[in-house]
Amino acid sequence: MTAANTDGAAAGDAVATDASTGPDPDEAQRAIEYCYERGWSDGLPLVPVSQPLLDAFLATTDKDSEEIIGALEQVGRDVNVRTAAINAAMAGCKPEYFPVVLAAFEALMRERAARGGGFQSTSGPSPLIVVNGPIRKELGFNTAGGAFGPGFRANATIPRAIGLIVRNAFGIHPHVLEQATQGLPGRWQVCIAENEEESPWEPFAENGGVTGGVSAVSATLTRTMEFVDNRHTPNPEDVLRDFQDTIGRIGSLIFPLTSVALVLCPEHAQMFAAAGMSKADVQNWLIERCGRTGAEFKSKGKAEVARTGFRGEYEGDDAFHKILAGPASIPVIVAGAKNAAISMVVRIFGEWSGTAVPVGEKK
């Protein structure tokens, strides 16, 4: 159809820019290919970063550009603010997102599993990033339908920035130090802005210790997720039993205890709240009931999961083995649109540290 023509598009093609004043697509493509050739990309095109763009990122934080913000001792690598900013810019973040990237990275590096071998793991875990507070609106996060993406620049680029930091600054590359067996869909792509407006409960950041409506970020590593579609009953206990069933799936259990994030749609959350349940009530209901008998584990070859503690004894065929240790093992987040009763059970890799990180403000 189109003739190869460096002077412009062939007649009849849609043209978005004025060739004399608009950006030069050929130059942009060369720069993108250069980034691919250097091995910096996660597979998708990167934004090539120049010093003026980096300066715009660094101007959003009070932190010194040389400050070390994370280290992975086992690979002898660390990351400073400047390197994090370059990766955030490459990921497609706007400069004003950078304080959120820094908070998300700090939150993630508080996780024992992330500091340990998480990024190298055969599990291929991915961060779940949760943003709370006014920054959600200020930066244009999606707080409504399609919470897990895609379609929104802030939600999409911030987790990608974290992935690029791990790849480029820590040097964890697939098939080498990164040994994911299958990985998981949505790796480095999940950043939820909680639907505080339609949540009947306190913002998630408060569960992580940041109160007063301050903008904050929480993060943990996860191993995929499964939806619970239950728009079939007016009885909240029925819905809780449906969650119980999904949370108790044996396939994903490898240790005596597990953790899941319950990402409730507004409809489910409001149903529980209308029945007088607080977030803690929902958590405690599930903590008491999620699990299976020893015989059920045994029949799948997983008797060792049904032990008292990590190195304890098998509890017996008839013993009911609970799999959630406490509220930190089942963080509850409200996200998505109020248009169907569909929630998500997200498998946490390791354990959520239970802390949120305030988004740093430029003073």
Partner: protein, 192 residues
């Protein structure tokens, strides 16, 4: 004058690539394992304990070694300095494993490199699925070409008998890694 494209790999990457670092020394090999003190550094992965215990038992039968067992503090990362010091004080050789995951295979190689540098010959046992990650970690730690023993993946799902069989199969490779003039493993000094 157009702007340069900035590098996202950080200021430390150049100094941590294997090429930029002098090779970490490897411990001198032992003349024989007769009567030596062998530490088994067990990484807690499924079947790691019975696997290493069987290797230890066979070494005891063959060479009259004395055995000490130690459990890795965290299978995913290299041992802390104080543990390394104790291992160096307590051991003539260390056998560690089984590296059968992304982080623990790398950690086994890293422990091996550190202990070797401190003068203790090490046989790290890694499943063959994780050769690239063990090699990459050894290179990061300044020991490109670091030698370890391999066994077929997987180990975790093996029956007790099969674990013993595997331990017996890897035994010669383990011994060859620890002593001089090994018949099966070339002396790495020759390749320097």
């Amino acid at each position: 004058m157009p702007n340069a494209i900035l590098d996202p790999t950080g200021p430390v990457s150049a100094s941590t690539t294997s090429a930029a670092k002098p090779a970490v020394p490897r411990a001198p090999r032992l003349a024989s394992l007769d009567g030596k003190r062998v530490s088994l550094l067990i990484n807690t992965k499924q079947n790691a304990r019975p696997f290493l215990e069987e290797v230890g038992r066979l070494l005891k039968n063959r060479y009259g070694v004395t055995l000490t067992e130690r459990t890795k503090v965290n299978f995913a990362v290299p041992e802390p300095e104080d543990v390394i010091k104790e291992l160096v004080a307590d051991s003539d050789v260390v056998i560690t494993g089984v590296g059968d995951c992304g982080s623990c295979s790398a950690a086994a190689a890293a422990d091996g490199v550190v202990l070797e540098a401190a003068g203790v010959p090490v046989a790290a046992i890694i499943t063959d699925s994780f050769i690239p990650t063990a090699d990459a970690m050894a290179a990061l730690r300044g020991a490109p070409g670091y030698k370890y023993a391999t066994t077929a993946h997987p180990v975790a799902a093996l029956t007790e008998d099969k674990v013993k069989e595997r331990a017996a199969q890897v035994l010669d490779e383990v011994v060859a890694l620890l002593i001089e003039d090994s018949p099966t493993v070339p002396n790495p000094e020759d390749e320097a």
